[in-house]
């Protein structure tokens, strides 16, 4: 609901419904197409496939797995990209060191996990560690060059080079896997039929529990952020700052404090995402640029500075990557790239961004 997020937040839900209605009224064909597509995908997921389908899409198990992997990967991308887009929206700072923060959070979480043995506690450590780095960056450097977009970006670039080299120094070049805690180990049965046995018994999808739990956590964080942005005083200040930073500071609000807060929060989220990434896959040298790229694509597709846009973009990019891996291995990145091109051609400001 990008529209609601940008409009008057005091009556969020009501305007949300209105805005959706208005949008449908204005674009009836697009709305119909989206509704049909959603129903079609739901049917694809829930119903057992007719015979002809498997010839086109391959095994249903593959399709469903790609979809689930894509959506859960989207949850991870959302955690990374949402900080990136908040920092960009409020401070006009393209933080190219965001990938380094992700990697740093992963390493710190790994160390904390090794030390205390608690997976949940490592999130706290990663959040705090990255938030401190973020605060230092904003307080020591970016505060001094406000309004100079390009210079700030170049500084983040320099920082990302130094960070990644220092991290190689400390943690080496080998991939590190963060262990999934016992209570999240193993698969969970889902009510989704992936195949029907010759005897007529339905085979249900088994999916790793940890990925489902983490996706749920990402959704929870997303909703919490939406509520915070729309219902709290700080949220109102942040939205006002995204709209007009100068006006906000003229009105006597402490913009610098707000900047530090947002930078710390965005960096901390990236750090927590590092642990998620380390649990899903692994963390290693080069993952920083991988997740920086993912954040860029998510933000370009979803709309710059928009949290709902980051959510939509993250799901799209995550699914595109996973489906690309399953259906056209040699050209998987071309698919995400093409999505970006199409979005830029049709809506340069991103799907949920404002022009």
């Amino acid at each position: 609901m990008a529209t609601t997020y940008h409009e008057d937040g005091a009556s969020g839900v009501a305007t949300g419904r209105d805005a959706l209605g208005r949008w449908i009224g204005r674009h009836p064909i697009a709305a119909l197409a989206i509704a049909v597509a959603v129903i079609f995908v739901l049917w694809l997921v829930l119903a057992p496939w007719p015979a002809g389908f498997e010839d086109v899409f391959g095994k249903k198990r593959l399709f469903i797995n790609a979809l689930f992997n894509g959506i859960t990967l989207g949850g991870l991308y959302f955690l990374v990209a949402t900080g990136f887009t908040l920092i960009f929206g409020l401070m006009r700072n393209v933080n190219l060191a965001h990938g380094s923060l992700y990697l740093f959070g992963g390493y710190m979480g790994y160390e904390a996990g090794e030390l205390t043995g608690s997976w949940l506690f490592s999130y706290v450590i990663a959040f705090i560690a990255c938030a401190i780095v973020g605060i230092a960056m904003q307080f020591l450097i970016f505060r001094r060059m406000e309004g100079q977009d390009l210079r700030q970006t170049l500084v983040t670039l320099g920082l990302s080079i130094i960070f990644s080299d220092l991290m190689v120094w400390v943690w080496g070049g080998n991939a590190i896997q963060i262990d999934t805690p016992d209570y999240l180990m193993g698969p969970t049965a889902t009510p989704i039929v992936v195949a029907v046995k010759s005897g007529g018994d339905a085979v249900f999808l088994q999916y790793p529990r940890v990925r489902l739990v983490i996706f749920a956590a990402a959704v929870f964080i997303g909703i919490a952020m939406w509520v915070a942005l729309n219902r709290t005083r700080v949220g109102v200040m942040i939205r006002a700052g995204v709209d007009d930073r100068d006006m906000l500071s003229v009105l006597g609000y402490r913009v610098q404090l707000l900047f530090i807060l947002v930078f710390a929060f965005g960096a901390g989220l990236a750090g927590m995402a590092g642990i998620v990434g380390g649990t899903f896959q692994s963390i290693s040298l080069g993952e920083d640029s991988h997740f920086l790229l993912a954040s860029l694509q998510v933000v370009i597709v979803g709309g710059m500075g928009s949290i709902p846009g980051a959510a939509l973009g993250a799901i799209i990019i995550g699914c595109a990557e996973q489906f690309g891996l399953v259906y056209f291995q040699n050209y998987a990145t071309v698919l995400t790239f093409l999505i970006m091109v199409v979005v830029l051609a049709l809506r340069p400001q991103g799907l949920l961004g404002r022009s």
Binding site: V94, I161, I162, D165, N330, A332, L344
Partner: protein
């Protein structure tokens, strides 16, 4: 207009004045460049093959590609991270259409056919980049071009039918043309020198030609240029095409010198290195690209030994580069040539004369 005064680019109003001064002025103003050019021409008589190709030649190639970035960023105000990618596209294409050790992919067409095709494809790629990034403005450019560069990197990494995955291509010989084997260090060096000088001169020329001036107008105030009838988007896209042309020449030379190309050659890190080169050298003048490149290559070649000799860990080379880059960005936004100019002005002032 400190830029124009000290480097001999005439500001608009003084162009007629300058013409009357003619040759003697030209000689004195361009003395450093002329001396440098002479030095580069006679370098093969004194330098070893390693210095010739791997240090000076490689610097000039990086300089050519950085020059394309300098053109876009300095004159067009568009900081593109996809210039190394444009070079990579032409580098890959010359191996796909030309010769390599992979007969399954390479078509083994002669160089006079393969090189122009590679350049045309790279220019098309650059134009597409321009069309895409001109859709948005300002700081978005850096995000979109970085995303494009990264997408190309992952494409080359994953794609086997055309780009041969992470292995890339090896044993790519420079051609034998006009009876000269361009693989040998001295002909190769002169080939690079020729194209470096040519692209430098062309960029300098275009910066003062109507197109370059209009581009600088677009950089400074797009709305005003639009209002007086210039097509802002067309100028931007054309700048991308021209920059890709220069970068593609650098890309082909890069492949011939390195004798190989792999995803890392045009990866994200290489793109960022290129931006560092251009910014450290200075975006204010074409020579900055080459200054940045020689500094970068000297550091890359000798920093390891230097770091070890003062008792530091030689592997922290990247930190050194990053710190140097930070210092430049924080304290001299116009790069090394900016520092050079300020020093020159101060010396000039203390000698009791101005630089003009």
């Amino acid at each position: 207009m400190a830029l124009a005064e000290t480097t001999g680019i005439a500001p608009l109003g003084t162009q007629d004045l300058q013409r009357s001064g003619a040759l003697s002025r030209l000689a004195t103003q361009h003395a450093p460049i002329l001396i440098l050019g002479l030095l580069l021409v006679i370098l093969p008589t004194i330098a070893s093959d390693f210095i010739l190709v791997q240090v000076v030649g490689w610097s000039m190639i990086l300089g050519i590609i950085a020059l394309s970035l300098m053109f876009l960023a300095g004159y067009g105000g568009m900081v593109s991270l996809a210039q190394m990618t444009a070079a990579g596209v032409s580098g890959y294409m010359i191996t796909v259409f030309g010769a390599s050790s992979l007969p399954a992919i390479s078509l083994f067409w002669p160089w006079w056919l393969a090189a122009p095709i590679a350049i045309v494809i790279a220019v098309a790629f650059g134009t597409l980049t321009g069309v895409l990034s001109s859709r948005t403005e300002g700081i978005y450019t850096i995000m979109i071009t970085l995303a494009i560069a990264a997408a190309f990197f992952y494409l080359t990494l994953q794609n086997w039918p055309i780009f041969n995955g992470f292995a890339g291509f090896t044993t790519i010989p420079a051609p034998i043309a006009f009876g000269i084997n361009w693989k040998h260090p001295i002909p190769l060096y002169y080939l690079i020198l020729f194209f470096a000088a040519l692209s430098y001169a062309v960029v300098l020329y275009i910066s003062r030609a109507p197109f370059g001036l209009a581009l600088q107008g677009v950089r400074d105030n797009p709305r005003r240029m639009e209002a007086i009838g210039y097509n802002v988007t067309a100028h931007r896209v054309a700048a991308y095409s021209f920059a890709a042309l220069i970068a593609s020449i650098g890309g082909i030379l890069m492949v011939w010198v390195n004798n190989q190309i792999s995803p890392g050659s045009a990866g994200v890190e290489a793109s960022i290195d290129l931006l560092i080169i251009a910014v450290v050298g200075g975006l204010g003048h074409p020579i900055g690209a080459f200054v940045g490149a020689i500094i970068f290559v000297l550091l890359r070649t000798f920093a390891l030994d230097a770091l070890v000799s003062v008792g530091l860990d030689g592997r922290r080379f990247q930190t050194l580069i990053g710190l140097g880059f930070l210092v430049i960005v924080l304290f001299s936004p116009d790069g090394v040539i900016g520092i050079w100019r300020r020093v020159a002005t101060r010396i000039g002032a203390s000698n009791g004369r101005t630089t003009r």
